[in-house]
Amino acid sequence: MKKKIIAGILCAALGATMLAGCGESKEENNKELVLYTWEGLFPQEVLDSFEEETGIRIINSNFDSNETMFEKVQQADGGDYDVVIGDDYIIEQVVNADLAQELDKGKLDNYKNINPLYQSQFYDPENKYTIPHGAGIPLIVYDPEQVDIDIKGYADLWDESLEDQIATIASYRAVEGMVLLTMGKSMNEEDPEVIKEAGEKLKELAPNIRMIQDTNTQNALLNGEASVAILYTSQVIAALQENPDLEVVYPEEGLGFGIMNFFIPKNAPDTEEAYQFLNYILEPEVAAECFDFVGYYCTNKAADDLVNPDLVVPDSVTKGEIIQNVSTEAEEVYNQNWTEFKAACD
């Protein structure tokens, strides 16, 4: 008997919540915008002032991995969300699955502000679907007091004077990509022979390597263990905060990019609001605020003068490549190269 009563109460509760849910969705006739982004991507002030300016209510939902985002957008068949962000490689899947809307650039007055360096990438060669928002770039950072040579590119890392001086991140594709760039090849080389050749060249770098580590690599540079370091963007910024005298090198051979991009899903319910929001984010002041907040490289040309200068790639850089998945055979060679390289470092 008791059980039946409890079950009855639970059923009633369930029904009530369902009704409540219905009621809620009916009330939302006002203008709204559903964002689907990384947590902590926008400073709260930016979102608040958008709501104030336009009277559009922002509903900000977050994901913790690109794959989750893709799955959700796919399940909703490109509906539910109005503006979504994702990293380069997942955008390719989104575009291929026909889940992104072609952008009407006539509605985006600030579209011209985008730095073309970050456009026309593999996932969107004709820039039909995406708006870049922030880039991560592994770079060389060195302490000019301890280094005698002028480091201009990756090739300088092989210099004999740097023996036992280099700390590097442990992203094997990024590091091997740098070697490939010094050979004039693509970071996404597929030919096993060429990759092997790069592996041999990488091994010649071994005597100069002080340590290989993915987390807090900048500490090696800051505490004097190494005088040169290959660092992720967040680490470059952290290192410069601690020691502004460090020299950042934008290697002349080209850069490896990771780029975040906004897109509007195919069946977004509030397209007009989505354009309004994207246009707002592309305003130089707003963009600068965003990039200062997340600490990624500024992809908005017009915001370059406003943002933390450490987050601006100099004009001399004209080439950037994104690391993509390669075939299993190529992957295996990259992998073995890395193990051999580490063993050679000892």
């Binding site: 580590q213 004097g224 263990e225």
Partner: protein, 287 residues
């Protein structure tokens, strides 16, 4: 066996959970790993269940063979150092007063209250260029330039010895403490010198403890890849590191499984060999 079970059916039920646990969490995963080591690696982290010996053939490549050699060298170096330090420590600790023993035990246990990972980071602070050790040495005028100790082989050995020394101390201690000292007295009465009495009686009686210590330090030191990562700056490639790499960034689980199987066979072989040499059948307090 059958008779017994019939007499006390309850007894079997009491050990049943143990069997279930062992099958689920030891035998099962082990068989799965062995099966996996014969499978084919697919795209990304996929595994294709097609029989192949390629994973084992791949281990024959110089770079992977080298990692086994490295691992054994490091494990042997660490174990010998730990033995040289741990045996006297455990021996003299067992001879302390009751109060002294308790205090010493507490001091040995205290570091275990912190994660070993964090203790390794502690060593970074001691060993780094602008760290404590270099500071002291430079203050004393013994060196002019900071030594590059961190991210080197000796740093890894220091980490290994530090992490595993307590296991040796405790197993030697427990076996020395249980020893019948009258046997040593008898040897002395019969004319053996101090040294002879030690090597002929004490050492032989405490050998099981020493062996337990060796096994408890040798086996983990084959697998403590994070020490090589943190203190070695990732430059010393142990089998553990290769396995970790293959499971994570390499996404080649079958190869990782094959490496693990070979590692297991080699360690078992080492233990078997050690027992053959020392003629010790049982491991003190274990198995």
């Amino acid at each position: 066996m059958e008779k017994k079970r019939k007499k006390k059916p309850g007894l079997f039920l009491t050990v049943l959970p143990l069997y279930v646990f062992t099958i689920c969490f030891v035998v099962g995963p082990l068989l799965y790993m062995i099966a996996l080591s014969f499978a084919t690696n697919g795209n990304g982290s996929d595994t294709i269940w097609r029989f192949t010996l390629d994973n084992y053939k791949k281990i024959g490549e110089p770079v992977y063979l080298e990692s086994f050699v490295q691992s054994f060298q490091l494990a042997i170096t660490s174990t010998v150092l730990i033995m040289l330090m741990g045996y006297p420590f455990g021996y003299f600790m067992a001879k302390l007063s009751e109060k002294g023993k308790k205090r010493m035990m507490l001091l040995i246990m205290i570091p275990f209250w912190t994660s070993s990972l964090i203790r390794m980071y502690g060593w970074i602070i001691i060993l780094q260029a602008k760290g404590v050790l270099n500071g002291i040495l430079m203050k004393l005028g013994l060196i002019q330039e900071p030594l590059k100790i961190l991210y080197s082989y000796p740093a890894v050995v220091v980490g290994m010895v530090y992490a595993l020394l307590p296991f040796m101390i405790l197993s030697v201690y427990s076996s020395v403490e249980k020893m019948d000292w009258s046997l040593v007295e008898a040897a002395r009465d019969l004319g053996a010198g101090r040294a002879r009495a030690f090597f002929d009686v004490t050492l032989k009686l405490t050998l099981p403890g020493l062996l337990t210590g060796v096994i408890l330090t040798f086996i983990p030191s084959m697998g403590l890849f994070f020490i090589a990562d943190i203190l070695g700056g990732n430059k010393i490639v142990l089998v553990g590191n290769v396995i970790q790499d293959q499971v994570t960034r390499g996404s080649n689980w079958p190869f990782a499984a094959a490496l693990a199987v070979v590692l297991m066979i080699l360690t078992s072989l080492m233990i078997w060999l050690y027992r053959k040499i020392t003629h010790v059948k049982d491991l003190e307090g274990f198995f």
